[in-house]
């Protein structure tokens, strides 16, 4: 094992056929969407948008920008919620033309299939191609081993998928890697990070790193990177301790970490990811999605604690939650959408939505065990809503979307009268043992203020979305203050300020709460080592120091 890695010099690239948009009128009219992301919080501006079609072009573009000291913003699908992909001047590099699936690999020792893709592939396209095994486009693209792996994969009877399931499936593979995206099934499978085997990344100066997991690990918190011109840089990993939660806040840091993990989740401040190799898992034979109904929040939370404990009779794929006010929204929308949920009665005050895998052999044990835990918390399997097919799961997911849809509708209505109004949705997560306390804290603060809000989300990972729905401008200010209060509380409990959506330009202040001034400086030092001129994604994650 080594902590050293050599960067490759970029190949010569022909830029004559690269799509470039440089007239301001074109940019602000036709390409206005490229100046924004789903946070809609910044007025983006850029001198030029370029659309490289391959890694050599990316490298040539970055190298040129480096020599001329032009800031660069790297863009994925711009579904981010933190302004991370919004350019504030300089050059914008959008990877939408790098949208090819490349090849498959099979690792005998791990019994693992992987698929390698360019950074601009849509998550949804990847999942569809893998699940349906429609992979004609990569036939003949790989070397002999890769062709063999593809052949073997196509002959598998089982269906496979990429196990991480972010809600927004129109994100790109480069984007989910750069943000370490996660989803409901992260409860079982972890976040994107766990499934990334290899990346290729173009550094600020145009050099390229080809990083395979397990080949370059830090030695006592230090990496040594040798650039193609022979210059060596030392990267000192920050010394803070990361929270014991799923996490998308700041740079990953552990003394013996893998170099690949430094780039995953770094929100593009250390380089442009051009290629990603992702692990796949077989789809289980039988899944049972269930909505269980509880007479109180306490009951539901108690159920979650028990069902995810080490001696639980059933291992869940995910555990999602809807609190009392979310249920009111579900009821209203369901009746207008013509979906009847008979088990959802007036007594229902909380719902836990979960899914587990079973075989004919272990089904009865699992269900009887589950029944005991449900009964203990005043629910029962008779009063649940359960599915046997994926179509039932889809129906349940529709019901899940009722909540954010209603919130967005309310916000839009109120915005008409109070333009300042926007949704204030938290992204904090806390360690397992603090779930109950943190949820109580939300309720105490918000009920005390009379603020309108809903709580729902990834309860298995203690990652509940608390959406505040301000009724006027004063409540917007109050909500923003609350956000800071909630962030501090999450950190106090050992949690994270950004479990899923990252920091970007919007949440830097919260990162400081988590890692302190020193932690921010250590992250800045990493950035300085890899991007001394501070050109890539300026303003993301950490502030730009005064001398840059």
């Amino acid at each position: 094992m080594t902590n050293k890695i050599k960067a490759l010099a970029p190949d010569e690239a022909d830029l004559s056929d690269m799509k470039v948009v440089e007239y301001q009128a074109d940019i602000t009219e036709t390409y206005a969407l490229y100046l924004d992301d789903e946070s809609h919080s910044f007025e983006g501006e850029t001198e030029k948008i370029v659309f490289p079609a391959n890694e050599a072009q990316v490298a040539a573009v970055l190298k040129d920008a480096y020599e001329r000291e032009i800031p660069v913003t790297i863009q994925g699908a711009r579904t981010g919620l933190t302004g991370a992909a919004v350019p504030l001047g300089g050059l914008t590099v959008n990877l939408e033309r790098m949208n090819n699936l490349l090849h498959m690999q099979y690792y005998e020792d791990e019994n693992l299939y992987t698929i390698t893709t360019e950074a601009g592939v849509l998550l949804e396209d990847l999942v569809n191609a893998v699940q349906s095994k429609r992979l004609d486009m990569i036939k003949g693209q790989g070397g002999p081993d890769e062709e063999k792996a593809l052949e073997r994969f196509l002959n598998e009877k089982k269906a496979y998928t990429f196990p991480v399931d972010p809600t927004e499936t129109s994100a790109w593979i480069g984007g989910i890697t750069a943000c370490n995206a996660s989803g409901a099934r992260t409860f079982k499978y972890g976040a994107t990070r766990e499934w990334v085997k290899r990346i290729r990344v173009v550094l600020a100066n145009g050099d390229i790193l080809d990083i395979r997991r397990g080949q370059c690990n830090a030695d006592n918190g230090v990496f040594e990177i040798e650039h193609s011109d022979g210059e060596k840089v030392t990267v000192n990993i920050p010394t803070y301790v990361m929270p014991r939660t799923k996490n998308a806040a700041g740079l990953y840091a552990k003394p013996d970490m893998d170099l690949i993990d430094l780039f995953i989740g770094s929100e593009g401040i250390l380089g442009a990811i051009t290629l990603v190799e992702l692990g796949l898992v077989p789809l289980p034979e039988n899944i049972m999605p269930v909505k269980a109904f509880f007479p109180s929040e306490d009951d539901a939370v108690g159920f979650v604690y028990d069902i995810r404990s080490s001696d639980s009779p059933v291992k869940m794929d995910f555990l999602e939650y809807y609190g009392p006010n979310a249920i009111e929204m579900i009821k209203e929308k369901a009746s207008s959408a013509g979906i009847k949920i008979p088990a959802l009665s007036d007594q229902t005050k909380a719902i836990v939505f979960f899914e587990f895998e079973y075989t004919d052999a272990d089904m009865e044990d699992k269900i009887m065990g589950l029944e005991t835990v449900l009964n203990k918390h005043n629910s029962s399997s008779e009063s649940s809503w359960a599915g046997m097919e994926r179509s039932e799961l889809e129906k349940m997911k529709i019901v899940r979307h009722f909540v954010p849809e209603t919130v967005n509708g309310l916000i839009a209505q109120r915005k008409a009268q109070f333009p300042k109004v926007h949704k204030i949705g938290t992204d904090m997560a806390v360690p397992d043992e603090s779930l109950r306390d943190y949820l109580k804290y939300y309720r105490t603060v918000l009920d005390g203020q009379g603020m309108e809000y809903v709580i729902f989300g990834h309860i298995g990972n203690n990652h509940l979305h608390c959406n505040m729905i301000p009724r006027n401008d004063e409540e917007v200010d109050q909500g923003m203050d609350n956000y800071m209060t909630f962030a501090k509380k999450a950190v106090e409990l050992g949690g994270t300020v950004a479990a899923e959506h990252g920091i970007g330009k919007l949440k830097r202040d919260f990162l400081k709460i988590m890692y302190g001034e020193k932690g921010i400086e250590q992250m800045q030092a990493v950035k300085r080592a890899l991007d001394p001129k501070w050109l890539l994604n300026r303003g993301n994650v950490v502030p730009v120091p005064a001398d840059r």
């Binding site: 269930v290 009847k340 008979p342 009865e364 399997s381 359960a386 097919e389 039932e392």
Partner: protein, 265 residues
């Protein structure tokens, strides 16, 4: 009371797209479901059994379809049906509505029943023929498009509200009878965990052509008197016009102008 419910597995039509070149449905990747009208039939059968059931009452679901169609039988049993019959065989493939009805009816003939409840039609073919054809083959009365069903105290008669274009008719008949269910009949229950577990243990009989004992040339594509020659989307009709004048007078003026232009008046 013995109730038989013939059911069909269909693609979730809301997600089916039409291939614009061939005019055929693209079924790839589209989830399969229990035909929604059949779901009403299953629900009604379970309710009747619950309300009138003696100890020997039971609801049997039956389908003719490929191996994966077994999913809809389990779904119906998870809702509360007691047992299932899966008629599956390559020989059954390609059956038109007549042969489908014949195949099902020949099996049903061997079973005990007081009542047969079908969905009014399958949402993929939309023919609404199989139910009535089964009744004809079995020579029992049929009441189609029912949205309310009552069974008499003594369990000998059924009174049904049958939907018509104008309203509804109230029809009374002596059992055995075949009903077809339409929207509004009931609100089907959702399966629960226990129901699913129990379903997996309920009896499921598999019947192939040999077991059915009907000769091959009366079954499947071979036995079908009709075939589908061509599937094509209906021709696009040009949209109409909408007259929304500020007031009735203005609207009338616009209408007259339009009709005059067309040379109708």
């Amino acid at each position: 009371m013995k109730i038989i419910v013939p059911v069909k597995q269909v693609p979730e039509v809301a997600e089916v797209k039409v291939n614009p070149e061939t005019g055929t449905l693209i079924r790839d990747g589209v989830p399969s479901i229990l035909n929604p009208f059949d779901e009403l039939a299953v629900e009604e059968a379970i309710r009747i059994k619950e309300a009138h059931g003696g100890d020997d009452s039971e609801v049997t679901v039956i389908t003719m379809g490929p191996p994966q169609a077994v999913d809809v039988l389990y779904k119906a049993m998870a809702m509360g049906a007691d047992k299932a019959v899966h008629m599956t065989d390559r020989i059954f493939a390609g059956a038109d509505t007549w042969v489908t009805a014949l195949t099902l009816a020949e099996q049903i003939r061997k079973m005990e029943f007081d009542l047969i409840i079908c969905g009014k039609q399958a949402i993929d073919g939309d023919t609404a023929q199989v139910g009535p054809e089964i009744a004809e083959i079995l020579r029992i009365p049929q009441i189609c498009y029912v949205r309310k069903v009552e069974i008499s105290e003594d369990g000998k008669f059924v009174t049904a509200h049958r939907e018509t274009d104008e309203g509804y008719e109230v029809v009374k008949a002596k059992l055995p009878v075949l009903l077809t269910a339409t929207k509004g009949l009931n609100e089907p229950r959702l399966p629960n965990i226990m129901g699913i577990m129990k379903a997996k243990k309920k009896p499921l009989e598999v019947v192939d052509a040999e077991k059915l004992g009907v000769s091959e040339d009366r079954l499947g594509l071979k036995g079908s008197p009709t075939t589908v020659r061509k599937v094509f989307p209906p021709e696009q009709r040009a949209g109409g016009i909408k007259i929304d004048g500020e007031n009735p007078k203005e609207a009338a003026r616009q209408l007259v102008e339009f009709l005059a232009k067309k040379g109708v008046i």
